[in-house]
């Protein structure tokens, strides 16, 4: 089986089968990262497809000396997810709400049924993660998910992916954890701990 580096070189040389192999290899991981950041399946699918298409078209810009391919790909994914969030904000902004005449800003545009089902499935922690601000959500998701071992990215990688200094990445992870800690009630945590022990 060809290595990732071989596939990249073959795609840079114009072999479309190598591009397909890279697409298949990374689609799910990119989708999962996008889902972690957006919390919506349809939006995550769109972001994953955009990110992979962009990465494959601009494969010439990828520099193996500077980062792993997955880190580079995750950088693009985070950027696409930010675009999705921006779109979401624009879609929900109406003149009347801006002027303060109407109701509060509507919830992010999504299928209400799917949202309801998803809410039932999701636990308190997942819901709390979704309420974090985008920079904090990016930091905590990347710290706990993905990376070379699947156990989360290093701070160096997080800093590269979100485009901030390493100290900022560290403080965002800390702050995200503190906010999650505050938002989760003690009883919920105790219940979760019990479930986990049993």
């Amino acid at each position: 089986m060809p290595t990732e580096q071989t596939l990249i070189q073959r795609w840079q040389a114009g072999d479309e089968r190598a591009a397909e192999a890279l697409y298949q290899q990374h689609y799910r991981r990119v989708f999962h990262l996008a889902y972690g950041l957006l919390g919506d399946v349809a939006e995550a699918e769109e972001a994953a497809q955009d990110a992979l298409a962009y990465a494959l078209i601009n494969i010439g810009r990828y520099e193996p000396r500077l980062s792993q391919f997955s880190t580079w790909l995750h950088t693009i994914t985070v950027s696409r997810c930010r675009d999705q969030q921006r779109k979401r904000r624009l879609a929900t902004l109406s003149l009347s709400s801006w002027l303060g005449w109407g109701k509060e800003l509507a919830a992010p545009a999504a299928n209400p049924e799917r949202r309801l089902v998803a809410k039932e499935e999701q636990n308190a922690i997942w819901t709390a993660v979704q309420t974090l601000s985008p920079p904090l959500r990016e930091a905590i998701v990347l710290r706990h998910w993905g990376g070379a071992t699947g156990d989360g990215h290093t701070y160096r990688e997080i800093a590269d992916i979100v485009g901030c200094p390493i100290g900022t990445a560290q403080s965002r992870v800390r702050l995200a954890y503190q906010q999650l800690s505050q938002r989760l009630s003690t009883s919920e945590l105790a219940l979760l701990a019990e479930e986990n022990l049993s």
């Binding site: 889902y35 399946v41 992870v173 701990a193």
Partner: protein
């Protein structure tokens, strides 16, 4: 530390490995004797583990509803690659052309100033627009390259050529800067009541250290850029060099 205990923030830092080695060792020593901090850490460890597990599970549970097959994006890729290659060629061509123009302007601007080296012609050094235009050319090239990184060998080759052009161009402009510094020094000496001839005789006092600095910067810069061809640090140093050179070139315009 709050009183005899560590703050919750420090404990979270310990948990997330964001403390310095010294701070971590300090906390290790404290934890071995303090049950209160140990308990707090243990509680956070449980919570962190929960967050880790639940986050991973929630993400893994999600599955794409309608995954897009590769065949659906293949035409988009073909078009994109073609467009990207064309655009890359255009940008590379324009960048190299601008850098070459900058170098030619810098070299041309050097000749008349070399002739003026031994004469008192301050105003000519101050009004010559060529080095300023050359610096602007280099600035445009550098800004265009700032976020770009060399990937395949052709891009690496382009980055190497640009680095060489920028390095030699900034070296030439550096010589102009020495002349401007010399003229500014002589102007200052004349302001103190000396004759232009006396100022000229004293000019090696500024030219000599400036020339030594120029040699160090040119040799040191060559090594720095050679090791970092196409990297952000290299473009950043070029940006800094060009800004300083441009300011020095423009300084006489503000003074006279």
């Amino acid at each position: 530390m709050i009183g005899k205990h560590f703050s919750e923030e420090t404990i979270i830092g310990y948990l997330y490995h964001t403390l310095t080695d010294a701070r971590r060792e300090e906390m290790d020593a404290h934890l071995s004797v303090c049950s209160r901090c140990r308990d707090l850490l243990a509680a956070h460890e449980v919570q962190q583990k929960q967050i880790d597990q639940e986050l991973k599970q929630a993400i893994k549970r999600a599955a794409p509803e309608a995954p897009v097959p590769f065949a659906a994006i293949a035409p988009q890729l073909r078009r994109g690659v073609l467009r990207s290659a064309r655009w890359e060629r255009l940008v590379n061509g324009l960048t190299v052309a601008t850098a070459v123009s900058g170098l030619i302007l810098a070299l041309f601007s050097l000749f008349p100033l070399v002739q003026l080296f031994w004469v008192w012609e301050l105003h000519l050094a101050a009004i010559d627009p060529l080095p300023t235009v050359a610096s602007i050319c280099f600035g445009v090239v550098m800004v265009g390259q700032f976020e770009r990184r060399p990937g395949i060998s052709f891009s690496y080759l382009s980055a190497s050529v640009l680095t060489l052009l920028l390095w030699s161009g900034t070296a030439v402009i550096g010589l102009q800067n020495i002349l401007v510094l010399r003229d500014l020094f002589m102007w200052f000496v004349v302001l103190q009541g000396n004759t232009p001839q006396a100022a000229l005789q004293m000019s090696p006092l500024i030219v000599l250290p400036a020339a030594i600095l120029w040699i160090i910067v040119v040799i040191g810069g060559a090594e720095y850029h050679w090791r970092r061809i196409g990297q952000r640090e290299s473009w950043r140093l070029f940006a800094l060099t060009i800004v300083i050179q441009l300011l020095l070139l423009l300084l006489p315009r503000f003074l006279f």
